[in-house]
């Protein structure tokens, strides 16, 4: 293509194929490098924007519970707390349900129902998050305030110890509502991923197991689950990564309060919700730097989750002798 290259005669079909190879190599290498460049660029600009906050506030930024734009004192702890609590709660709800759905679809579901349910789950995954947010605010929140939360306060709220988790006036929105919305959002993701993973179990193995007289439960427990464990952990971590960064739906129902309530019924905030709420109007200087620093923390948090997923996957792979 270029002047310095001495072009081999085009009549030679082998040379032409070789050159096509080289071009394909170059283009695909370029595309891959762009991804790397973008990643490095994002990291660097986040770090540069966050630097004033880390410099002025020190490591205390990560542990401080204050968020006060008036006195310009900021700490990330309340937002990190809200992010982790809502995401972990959402996973606790979504993973067992997603596994159940996938099991039903692959092992128990009558054939005519299999496709409609599968398609419905994939459609659910395609709903934009703002729709979940609006639904959460207008439908789920009143239901929580009038029915679910008073019930929780009256029952679980009276048990010593865990009672503190369910204390106090029912606002309708708060950490628990946000976790429920998040669970609904990652559920289709978890379910369709898990179903696809289950379907990759070699059919001969399953059929052989059934042939030996194993029950459905035994096949699932001893054949399907162990065969899929590696991929499952990876999938769950991907879902967790999605929950950590989810913004709009959470912003609608979490209450957006920079506080660290003991009760799950009280308002809190997450990193992405805080950024979405405050960045527009944040004055230049310490305030916007603190918000960028929050973004950096989320970046690191998500990176750690994905790294942990890789580590676990490798351990599992080694134990399985692969």
């Amino acid at each position: 293509m270029t002047a310095i290259d001495i072009p081999p005669p085009l009549s030679d079909p082998r040379a032409r194929a070789l050159r096509a190879d080289r071009i394909a190599h170059g283009v695909s290498l370029g595309a891959a490098l762009v991804v790397l460049l973008v990643l490095i660029g994002v990291t660097l600009s986040l770090a540069a924007g966050a630097w004033p906050a880390f410099r002025d506030l020190g490591p205390g930024f990560l542990t401080a519970k204050v968020w006060n734009p008036v006195t310009d004192r900021y700490g990330a702890f309340t937002a990190i707390y809200g992010t982790v609590i809502t995401s972990v709660l959402a996973m606790l709800i979504a993973v067992p349900m997603g596994l159940g759905i996938a099991l039903f679809l692959t092992e128990l579901c009558p054939r005519p129902l299999r496709r409609p349910i599968g398609i419905a789950i994939e459609l659910l995954a395609g709903i934009p998050s703002i729709i979940y947010g609006i639904w959460g605010l207008f439908v789920l929140a009143p239901l929580m305030q009038h029915t679910v939360q008073p019930l929780l306060i009256a029952t679980l709220g009276n048990i010593p110890g865990i009672g503190a988790l369910f204390a106090g006036p029912p606002y309708g929105i708060g950490l628990l509502t946000a976790a429920l919305i998040l669970a609904m959002m990652v559920l289709p993701f978890v379910a369709s991923l898990t179903r696809d993973i289950f379907l990759t179990t070699p059919p001969m193995l399953r059929e052989a197991a059934y042939g030996m007289g194993m029950t459905t439960w035994e096949v699932t427990r001893h054949i399907t689950l162990p065969k899929s464990a590696t991929a499952l952990v990876g999938g769950m971590m991907l879902a967790l990564g999605r929950a950590l960064g989810e913004t709009m739906a959470v912003t609608f129902v979490i209450g957006n309060a920079h506080r660290m309530p003991a009760s799950l019924l009280q308002p809190g905030t997450t990193i992405s919700a805080a950024i979405a709420n405050e960045f527009n109007e944040a004055s230049a200087g310490a305030y916007s730097s603190a918000l960028i620093a929050l973004g950096f923390v989320l970046f690191v948090l998500t990176f750690l989750v994905l790294a942990a997923a890789q580590l676990m996957l490798r351990r599992l792979a080694r134990r399985n002798g692969r």
Binding site: Q145, N256, H258, E278, E281
Partner: protein, 352 residues
Amino acid sequence: MSLSMTRKALLAGAALFSVSAGAACAADISGAGATFPYPIYSDWAKTYQSETGTGLNYQAIGSGGGIKQIEARTVTFGASDAPLKGDALKQNTLVQFPTVMGGIVPVVHIDGIEPGKMVLDGPTLAKIYMGKITKWDDPAIAKLNPDLKLPSKAIAVVYRSDGSGTTFNFTTYLGDVSADWKSNVGVATSVEWPTGIGAKGNQGVAADVGQTANSIGYVEYAYALQNHMTYTDMINAAGKRVAPKADAFAAAAANADWSSQPGFGVILANQPGDATWPMTAATFILMHSDAKDATASAEALKFFDWAYANGDAAAGKLDYIPMPDSVVALVKQEWQQIQGSDGKPVYTDATN
């Protein structure tokens, strides 16, 4: 409620579409900033474009964003709900003037209580937002409302989670009436709220208060009206009970001393006068006094001149309060500060 709530947004969206459709035209006026006056700016822009052919490209990115953009000179004018102080104006060679006003009203959601039936005063409102009054049947509220049946329910406090001029004006008022608020929470576009739940934007607060029983929030008057929310009356600085109405906001503006602050940056919170609504606020335009593009600045001023002269009816229809004529005359004098590289004012209107 959702239908009426979206009405303003739809209006604004329609206007935005017509504005952006003409965005290719080089002569468009460009501005960015506050979201609160966005519906009226869009409305004005639409009429102005059909009359003169000049469009307005206004990005409602928030007051903070508007200030950043005008300082970086990427737009011809910035818009902010919170006025800049004199030294900040001087430092960035900015000229500031108000365009329209609005009122901020407390809204409540208590079963059986209708709009305008409840009355609050400043100190009580501050205590509610401090978390010191936690139930609706608190003696302080009961004393102001002897005729109302108040539930013994916890108050769900709702505030703006995004930084906003509305919050700035609301906290200014609370700081004015409560020393406790001023020293422990403070006055800003975003503060560390001692209690309650945060919602994004006027719509968010309106929706949260609409959804949450026994809640209280604060929104722009226009939102309260269009969403048929239960607004409360207030006891003003003169000790009189006032309802949030256009003439009560206008009274606050009339009683203010506009020339006392550089850039007309008077805060209309807690103004004197028997008929004055205590939480009134103006929204401001920022332009550079050393205009780099004199033609663009002149076009922008021409637009605002047109709006002052012809925009009052549209403002009233969208529940904004037009500026009094006396203030407009002062603003037009201030415009002489906006000068091109030749040292001459970029725009002089015929009447001045």
